[in-house]
């Protein structure tokens, strides 16, 4: 498990990949490419098609339409056991009647690896996941975190060029999740294998991934690095699913190379956008980019300024979150970090100000209803 690591991972290409169950479309003609050695995360709410996509790559679910290539070779007609893929399952899926070592040795058995070599590889894999001393135990005698490490060892022991992970940390508690995230990241760096990782947890996706594909309703909303998605979301869904966003709804306008919305609180401007003029749209800005200015002075000089009233405050230790009522009845969030807290209190009237470069005007489409904002702590 050394040698030339960067050349180890395979590429995975999905072209117009579709899965239909009867009339229901679970995955709707998605295009996606995982580059060799990349850590690609499929992120989305449950039912968004990310797990079905993963199961199609693994071969557990038949492809209805489209192409599925690994290293540019079509694999959709190969059964799972001929694809040479590694996989870690949400509920570990360890064989309860085999010892830990036998579990890890199982894929090597199937590949008819000689005994001495097998033992060496098993020992090495168990060492990598930090369980060298537990090979003789049964899975039932291990903790959840240990079981998932065994599953990881079993998935990587035969050095597959692709490793799939289906919410591998979903059944574990927060603290263990954090530790294992770091370990998965380390192992990915060591192996150079292409990882495809499914999760509904945005924080996990941000920590682990080289790139993230955000799934919604069977389609991919946006693919990009964590920074791309966070700083430059291209849809309202991405803006809201990844981190928090404050939305100002209105009608899109285009003005002198920039973007803007006519909203009840006035005309707001943004540097970026994808909504065409006249369309229903939302100006999206991250809550930490908004500053509050008291209303007793003159109107502040900023790219954008909107009147509002503080309704509620939540103290979060390193920051505080404020819910602001806008004149049109909608609500937005503002986050102030510990060193930079304004004097505004619930009940105060305030100016919300932010710069055009931090905002984007995104189409909400004719039918999209405005999602409600809440103060949920993520």
């Amino acid at each position: 498990m050394s040698a030339d690591l960067s050349a180890h991972g395979a590429s995975i290409t999905l072209k117009g990949l579709t899965k239909r169950y009867g009339d229901a479309t679970a995955v709707d003609a998605i295009d996606l490419e995982a580059r060799p050695g990349e850590f690609l995360t499929l992120l989305g709410p449950s039912g968004s098609g990310k797990t079905t996509t993963l199961n199609m790559i693994a071969g557990f679910v038949d492809v209805t339409e489209g192409e599925l290539l690994i290293d540019d070779k079509p694999v959709h007609s190969l059964p799972p056991y001929k694809r040479n893929i590694g996989m870690v399952f949400q509920h570990y899926a360890l064989f309860p009647h085999m010892s830990v070592a036998d579990n890890v040795a199982y894929p090597l058995h199937q590949r008819k690896v000689a005994k001495a070599e097998r033992q060496r590889l098993v020992a090495e894999a168990l060492k990598t996941v930090g369980l060298a001393h537990l090979g003789h135990r049964r899975p039932a005698q291990l903790s959840g975190g240990q079981q998932q490490r065994v599953a990881l060892a079993r998935a990587m022991v035969y050095s597959p060029r692709v490793l799939l992970m289906d919410e591998p940390l979903g059944a574990l508690d927060k603290k263990l999740r954090d530790t294992l995230q770091l370990e998965i990241k380390r192992i990915h760096a060591e192996l150079g294998t292409t990882f495809v990782y499914v999760t509904h947890d945005q924080d996990e996706a941000l920590v682990l991934s080289d790139r993230i594909a955000v799934f919604n309703d069977g389609r991919i909303e946006q693919i990009g690095t964590a920074t791309d998605l966070y700083e430059r979301p291209s849809t309202v869904f991405v803006a809201q699913f990844l981190g928090e966003s404050s939305l100002f709804h209105g009608e899109a306008i285009s003005s002198g190379g920039g973007y803007g919305v006519h909203s009840p609180g006035g005309t707001l401007r943004a540097q970026r956008g994808n909504a065409s003029s006249g369309e229903p749209a939302a100006l999206v800005v991250r809550p930490e980019r908004i500053r509050l200015v008291p209303t007793d002075g003159a109107e502040p000089t900023a790219d954008n300024a909107v009147r509002g009233r503080v309704r509620q405050e939540i103290y979060l230790g390193n920051s505080r979150k404020l819910a602001i009522d806008l004149p049109d009845g909608s609500q937005v969030l503002v986050r102030e970090s510990a060193g930079d807290i304004s004097a505004s209190r619930p009940g105060d009237d305030v100016w919300l100000t932010f710069r055009a470069e931090h905002a984007a005007v995104l189409s909400t489409g004719p039918s999209t209803t405005a999602p409600t904002t809440n103060l949920g702590v993520h």
Partner: protein
């Protein structure tokens, strides 16, 4: 109600259950002393003791022959019914298909339909097909009766089986047959083993069908006992009954302990 009356109720319940347990277990046990009587009668309790009825049993080829036939048929039934029943249970739990309920009902029907009705029809059929008194005839007849006793426990353990393990095996590189042999089968083994045991006991114990499809050349032990009870008062039958009792008790206890162990390991 007061505390005392609750305690009285408990005592009454305990005494009642002890009596029921006695009524369940004790009657069968009287065949043991009877098998050791020294008189050629069913008089009970015996007044003197001897082991000659056991000697009689093992010296009389009609008894030993019946025992051998029963064991042979029982083993073959265990084999046939377990194989067929396991396959059926797999098909019934693993897929949804039209007519599934009908197949399930058909497989379980032999438990419900009075055996005597089937036995009479089977007699007519075997008479024509010249299968009366053949091992083949006995094996297929008893296998049908044993089928539900295999399908039920195997279905239960298949339903308790985590199918994701099969996906895990497949992704590890195991083809369907290897997956079944190395992962599925070992994990549903308790169900299959108890099914096989139930199948054996069902056949070994079966009287009604056997009464109709027997011939002078092939008679099973329960049939031999049945005709012996109706014809004469020969305590050899008590010796036979004691042997069966010992055998089934050991088999049941072994199976129960085996299943309990398996469950604990997991």
């Amino acid at each position: 109600m007061t505390k005392i009356s609750v305690r009285v109720w408990r005592l009454v319940l305990a005494a009642f259950c002890a009596l029921v347990a006695l009524w369940l277990v004790a009657p069968s046990l009287i065949v043991i002393p009877l098998s050791l009587t020294d008189k050629p009668s069913f008089a009970f309790p015996p007044t003197g003791w001897s082991t000659r009825w056991y000697g009689n049993f093992f010296d009389d080829p009609s008894w030993t022959g019946a025992l051998l036939s029963s064991v042979k048929v029982g083993l073959l039934v265990a084999l046939v019914a377990t194989a067929a029943g396991t396959a059926t249970a797999v098909a019934l739990t693993r897929s949804k298909f039209r007519g599934q309920q009908a197949v399930r009902g058909l497989v379980l029907a032999p438990m419900i339909v009075p055996v005597i009705v089937v036995a009479v029809g089977l007699y007519a059929l075997f008479l024509k097909a010249q299968l009366l008194g053949t091992t083949f005839g006995f094996v297929v007849a008893h296998s049908v009766l044993a089928l539900p006793f295999v399908v039920i426990p195997v279905t239960a353990s298949l339903q308790g089986f985590d199918r994701r393990l099969e996906n895990a095996a497949a992704i590890c590189g195991a083809n369907r047959w290897s997956t079944f042999r190395q992962v599925t089968l070992p994990l549903v083994a308790p169900g299959v083993v108890s099914g096989a045991l139930f199948a054996f006991v069902t056949s070994f114990d079966e009287v009604v069908m056997a009464l109709f499809i027997q011939s002078p050349y092939l008679q099973t032990l329960p049939v031999k006992m049945y005709s012996s009870v109706t014809r004469d008062t020969d305590p050899t039958i008590a010796a036979a009954a004691t042997l069966i009792l010992a055998f089934t008790t050991v088999a049941t206890l072994t199976a129960t302990v085996y299943i309990a162990r398996r469950n604990r390991v997991r």
